[in-house]
C-alpha cells in the first residue's frame, strides 16, 4: 500500500468523524425543531439565528460538566460502556458508500460487518445498566439485552432477500445492483428491517431500555455530563446509520437522476431520519412482553417467509 493511499484513508476517516459529529449535532437540533412543529410549539430558537447554535451550546454545556461517577458503580465497566455505543456505530460507517466513489472501505462481507458491529453496540447499553449498580439501570440493561437478541435475528434475516437479489454482501455492489430500488422488490424485507432498525437504536415505540415513565431514565440513569452525552451521541449516530443503511439497501443508495450522487444519498437518508422523528411523536411505547411477542411472532416469521418467497420467485425467474 502506498503512502498516498494511507494518507487518503486517514484523511477520509478524519473527515467522516468530523462530518458525522456535526451532522449528529444538527440532527438533534432538527429533531427538536421538527417535533416542535408537530406539537404546535417552537422548539429551540434562541441560540443564534433560528436557534442554529443550539447544538454548540449543548455540546459546550455537556463538555464542561463535572464528570461525576457515583461511588457505588463498577468503575472500569462504567467508564467503558458509554464509549462502546458510538465506537461501534462509527466503525460501521466505514463501509457505507456515500456515492460511487466516496467510501472508506469496500469489504466483501460489508453487510455482515455492519450487523456484527451493531450486535456489539448493545454491550454499551447492557454494561452501562449493569455497572451502574442500581435497580433502574439494571432493569433497563436487561430490557436492552432481551430486545437486542429478539430484533437482531429478524433484522439480519430481512437482509437475506437483498443479498440474494444483489448476489453480494458488499454495499457498493448492492447499490450497483439496484436498477430498481429494492424497496419495490423487497417490501416485506424493507418493513422488517425498518422496524428492527428502530428497535436496534431504542427509539419510540421501542425505547424500553430508557422508558423514562417507568425506569426514570433506564440504563443511563446514573450517567451525567460527557458520559451521558456519549450514549446520546451513539443513539443519534445509530439513527443516522440505520437511515443510511435503509438508503443503501432499499432505496438505491446514491443513484438518482439529475442531482449529484451525494445529494441523492443525503436526501434519501434524511427522509428516513425524518420518519424516525415522525414515529417518535406519533406513537406510545410498547410493553416488554408485547415487544418480545412482536419480535418473535411477527417480525421473525415475516422475515423467513420473505426469504422463501424471494428464493422461489428468484428460481422461477432464472
Amino acid at each position: 500500500m502506498s503512502f498516498g493511499h494511507w494518507f487518503l484513508t486517514l484523511g477520509g476517516m478524519v473527515l467522516m468523524l468530523g462530518g458525522l459529529l456535526v451532522t449528529v449535532a444538527f440532527m438533534v437540533y432538527a429533531e427538536r425543531r421538527v417535533l416542535a412543529l408537530f406539537q404546535d410549539r417552537l422548539g429551540p430558537n434562541r441560540a443564534g439565528p433560528l436557534g442554529l447554535l443550539q447544538p454548540l451550546a449543548d455540546a459546550l454545556k455537556l463538555l464542561t460538566k463535572e464528570s461525576f461517577a457515583p461511588p457505588f458503580v463498577d468503575r472500569m465497566v462504567y467508564e467503558l460502556a458509554p464509549v462502546i455505543v458510538p465506537l461501534t456505530v462509527l466503525m460501521s460507517f466505514a463501509v457505507v458508500p456515500l456515492s460511487d466513489a466516496w467510501w472508506l472501505a469496500d469489504l466483501n462481507v460489508a453487510l455482515l460487518y455492519v450487523l456484527a458491529l451493531s450486535s456489539l453496540g448493545v454491550y454499551g447499553i447492557i454494561l452501562g445498566g449493569w455497572s451502574s449498580n442500581s435497580k433502574y439501570p439494571l432493569l433497563g440493561g436487561l430490557r436492552a439485552a432481551a430486545q437486542m437478541i429478539s430484533y437482531e435475528l429478524p433484522m439480519g434475516l430481512a437482509l437475506v432477500g437483498v443479498v440474494m437479489l444483489a448476489g453480494s454482501f458488499s454495499l457498493v455492489d448492492i447499490v450497483n445492483a439496484q436498477d430498481v430500488p429494492f424497496i419495490v422488490l423487497q417490501p416485506v424485507g424493507f418493513l422488517v428491517f425498518m422496524v428492527c432498525g428502530v428497535a436496534e437504536v431504542n427509539r419510540l415505540p421501542f425505547d424500553l431500555p430508557e422508558a423514562e415513565n417507568e425506569l426514570a431514565s433506564g440504563y443511563n440513569t446514573e450517567y451525567g455530563g460527557m458520559r451521558f452525552a456519549l450514549f446520546y451521541l451513539g443513539e443519534y449516530m445509530g439513527v443516522l446509520l440505520i437511515a443510511s443503511l435503509v438508503t443503501v439497501l432499499f432505496l438505491g443508495g446514491w443513484r438518482g437522476p439529475w442531482l449529484p450522487d451525494v445529494v441523492w444519498f443525503a436526501l434519501k437518508t434524511f427522509s428516513v431520519v425524518f420518519l424516525f422523528y415522525w414515529l417518535r411523536t406519533s406513537v406510545p411505547r410498547l410493553r416488554y412482553d408485547q415487544l418480545m411477542d412482536f419480535g418473535w411472532k411477527i417480525m421473525l416469521p415475516a422475515a423467513l417467509v420473505n426469504i422463501v418467497i424471494t428464493a422461489v420467485v428468484g428460481i422461477a425467474w432464472m
Binding site: P205, E214, R280, R287, Y288
Partner: protein, 565 residues
C-alpha cells in the same frame, strides 16, 4: 320494620333530629358498631354498599371526647346515612371496619394518625399522612394550629439518621423477597408518579407481586387550616385540594355551607357556577389525557392537551381573573358578574374543542399500540369498585352510570340535557373512553348554560351570610358596616353539620362542615376521590408488568394534593 326502627331496636341507635343537610343520622354505641355496619351493608333495606367516608370530630372545644362519624352510601336507594360513635378523649378505642369494607383501611389509619384513635383489629395500624416520627395527632384541638404556637422544631443528627434508616425500602436480601424477587422503590420523586408519591414494588422479573403505596408527602393540613379560617377565607384553600379542577372544589364547599345557612344562590350565579365547573372538568380531563398519554409513552398528547387547556384558562381568566385557582365562588353566589365578551370567548372555546377531542382519540383510543397497552390493564369489577370506594369516571368505566349530576342533581343540573358516558370493561382503556366522552358532554352543558344564562343578581340576598358587594359598601354606611364586620371578623353560621357531595372530575367529592356558631368551621372534613383510588392500586396492579403499574396509576387519575390534602 323500617330501617330506623330496626337500627334503634337491634343496635340501640339513637336517631338525632334531622341535621341541616337532611342526612339520616344515628348515634350508636361503640360495642354495637361492627354488627350495625355489617347489618347496614348486607341485610338492611336499602343496603348501604359503599363506605363513603370515615373520620372524627374532636369535641374538646364544645364538650368532651371524640365523635367518630361514618358516611355510608346506598346505591340502590341513592341515600346517605351517617353514624356517630362517641369515644372518650383519653385512649379512644374503636373496632375496625376493614373486614366489612376494605376501603376502611386507609381511612382508619388516617383516623389513628389525626386523632390518635386506636383501631382494634386493624391489619396495619400506622400513620398514613404524617411521618411516622411525628409527635401528636394534628386534628386534635390541643394540637397547635400555627407553627408559632409550637416549640421550635429540632432534629438532632442522630435522630435524623435513625429516621432515614427507618424509611429505607427493604433490600433484596431481606426476608420477604423470595428467589428472583426484587424490591423496587418508585418515588417519592419519579416521573411516573405525577408528584410525590412513593410506591414500594415487589417484582419478580418485571411482574408485580405486590405494591405498597406510601403517601402523605403532599399533606398540607387542609382540614386543620379550615379551623382557623373564616368560612369565606377558606374558599381559596379549596381550590388547591384538587388543584387541577379549580372551581370544582369550591362547589361542594360553598354548597355545604349554604345548606348550613339555609340559603340558595340566585339563578344567574348557579348557571355561572355550572358553566365554570364544567369548564374545569374539561381542564382536569385535559391534564389527565396529557399525563396518561405520557405514561403510556406517547409524546404528543401532553402538548396537544395543554394547548387546549391554555385556551380554556384564557376563558377562565377573562371571567374570574384567575387561571388555575380562581377562588370565584362565594357563599350565596359568585364573586363577580360575567364580563363583557364572555359569550364570544366561551363560544370560541367550545367551537374548537370537538376537533381537539377528535385528535386525542386518534392519538390515543384509536392507536393500536395504545389499545394494546391499556386493554385489560387494571381491570376493576363494579363490585370491587364499590367495595373500594371508587367513584367518578373510574366507576362509570365499570358500567355503573353513577353520576351525581344525574342521580342527585344539584345547582340545577337536572335542567341540562346531557348523557352519562359509561363503558363496561372497567380497564384503563374504558376509563380513557369514558373521560374523552365526558369532555364532549361537558361541552354540551357549557353550551346550554351559555344559552340560558338568566339575568339577575349574582349573590343571595341574605346579608347575614353573603359577602356584601364592595362597590355598594363604598356607597352606603349600612353595607359598609356589614362588609367591615363580615370581612374583618368573619360571619357566623348557625350550628349544625352539613355534608355535600358533588361529582368532581375525579369522582365523588364530599365536604362535611361542622359548625359551632363561631366564624370558623369547627371541623371541616374533605373526602376526596383520589384517596380511595390510590388505595386500590395494589389490588388491581398485582400480576401485571412494571410498565402496567404506571398505566394503572395514570388511568385512575389522582392528584397528589387531592390524595394527601
Amino acid at each position: 320494620m323500617s330501617l330506623s326502627e330496626e337500627l334503634q331496636s337491634r343496635f340501640q341507635a339513637q336517631a338525632t333530629s334531622l341535621p341541616k343537610d337532611a342526612v339520616e343520622t344515628y348515634h350508636i354505641p361503640k360495642d354495637q358498631l361492627t354488627p350495625a355496619l355489617r347489618f347496614l351493608k348486607h341485610e338492611s333495606d336499602p343496603a348501604y354498599d359503599m363506605l363513603f367516608d370515615l373520620s372524627a370530630v374532636d369535641e374538646a372545644a364544645r364538650g368532651d371526647g371524640l365523635t367518630v362519624f361514618y358516611h355510608l352510601l346506598s346505591f340502590s336507594a341513592n341515600r346517605v346515612l351517617r353514624l356517630y360513635v362517641s369515644l372518650p378523649a383519653v385512649q379512644p378505642i374503636i373496632p375496625t371496619a376493614c373486614e366489612i369494607w376494605p376501603v376502611a383501611n386507609w381511612y382508619e389509619r388516617e383516623l389513628y394518625d389525626m386523632f390518635g384513635v386506636d383501631i382494634v383489629g386493624h391489619p396495619n395500624l400506622r400513620r398514613i399522612l404524617m411521618p411516622d416520627y411525628w409527635e401528636g395527632h394534628p386534628l386534635r384541638k390541643d394540637h397547635p394550629n400555627r407553627a408559632t404556637e409550637m416549640e421550635p422544631y429540632r432534629l438532632p443528627d442522630e435522630r435524623y439518621r435513625r429516621i432515614l434508616e427507618s424509611v429505607q425500602a427493604d433490600d433484596d436480601t431481606e426476608s420477604g423477597a423470595g428467589e428472583g424477587e426484587m424490591i423496587l422503590n418508585i418515588g417519592p420523586n419519579h416521573p411516573g408518579t405525577h408528584g410525590i408519591l412513593r410506591l414500594i414494588v415487589q417484582l419478580e422479573g418485571e411482574e408485580i407481586q405486590d405494591v405498597r403505596p406510601d403517601i402523605g408527602f403532599h399533606h398540607r393540613g387542609a382540614e386543620k387550616m379550615a379551623e382557623r379560617q373564616t368560612y369565606h377565607t377558606y374558599i381559596p384553600y379549596t381550590d388547591r385540594i384538587d388543584y387541577l379542577a379549580g372551581a370544582q372544589n369550591e362547589l361542594p364547599y360553598v354548597l355545604a355551607v349554604e345548606h348550613l345557612a339555609g340559603i340558595t344562590a340566585p339563578p344567574r350565579a348557579q348557571v355561572t357556577r355550572v358553566m365554570l365547573c364544567e369548564l374545569f372538568r374539561i381542564a382536569s380531563h385535559l391534564v389527565w389525557i396529557a399525563s396518561f398519554g405520557h405514561d403510556v409513552g406517547a409524546m404528543a398528547p401532553p402538548f396537544f392537551a395543554f394547548r387546549e387547556r391554555e385556551r380554556l384558562f384564557d376563558v377562565v381568566e377573562l371571567i374570574t381573573g384567575g387561571r388555575m385557582h380562581p377562588a370565584f365562588f362565594r357563599i350565596g353566589g359568585v364573586a363577580l358578574d360575567l364580563p363583557d365578551g364572555w359569550r364570544e370567548a366561551v363560544n370560541n372555546f367550545i367551537k374548537r374543542m370537538p376537533k381537539a377531542v377528535e385528535e386525542y382519540e386518534s392519538l390515543l383510543t384509536r392507536n393500536p399500540i395504545f389499545r394494546a397497552r391499556t386493554r385489560g390493564i387494571g381491570t376493576l369489577t363494579t363490585e370491587q369498585a364499590i367495595e373500594w370506594g371508587v367513584s367518578g369516571p373510574n366507576l362509570r368505566a365499570c358500567g355503573l352510570p353513577w353520576d351525581l349530576r344525574k342521580i342527585k342533581p344539584y345547582s340545577g343540573y337536572d335542567e341540562y340535557d346531557f348523557d352519562v358516558p359509561t363503558a363496561h370493561e372497567g380497564d384503563a382503556l374504558a376509563r380513557t373512553e369514558v373521560r374523552l366522552a365526558e369532555i364532549r358532554q361537558s361541552l354540551r352543558i357549557v353550551e346550554q348554560a351559555m344559552a340560558r344564562m338568566p339575568k339577575g343578581p349574582i349573590l343571595a340576598k341574605e346579608a347575614r351570610y353573603a359577602l356584601p358587594r364592595k362597590d355598594r359598601a363604598l356607597q352606603d354606611i349600612e353595607t359598609l358596616i356589614h362588609h367591615f364586620i363580615a370581612v374583618g371578623w368573619g360571619m357566623t353560621f348557625p350550628p349544625g353539620e352539613s355534608l355535600f357531595i358533588t361529582e368532581a372530575p375525579k369522582g365523588m367529592n364530599g365536604y362535611f362542615v361542622v359548625s359551632d356558631g363561631t366564624p370558623h368551621p369547627y371541623r371541616l372534613r374533605i373526602r376526596t376521590p383520589s384517596f380511595p383510588h390510590v388505595q386500590c392500586v395494589p389490588i388491581i396492579a398485582r400480576g401485571h408488568m412494571l410498565s402496567d403499574l404506571i398505566v394503572i396509576l395514570g388511568s385512575l387519575d389522582y392528584v397528589l394534593a387531592d390524595l394527601d390534602r
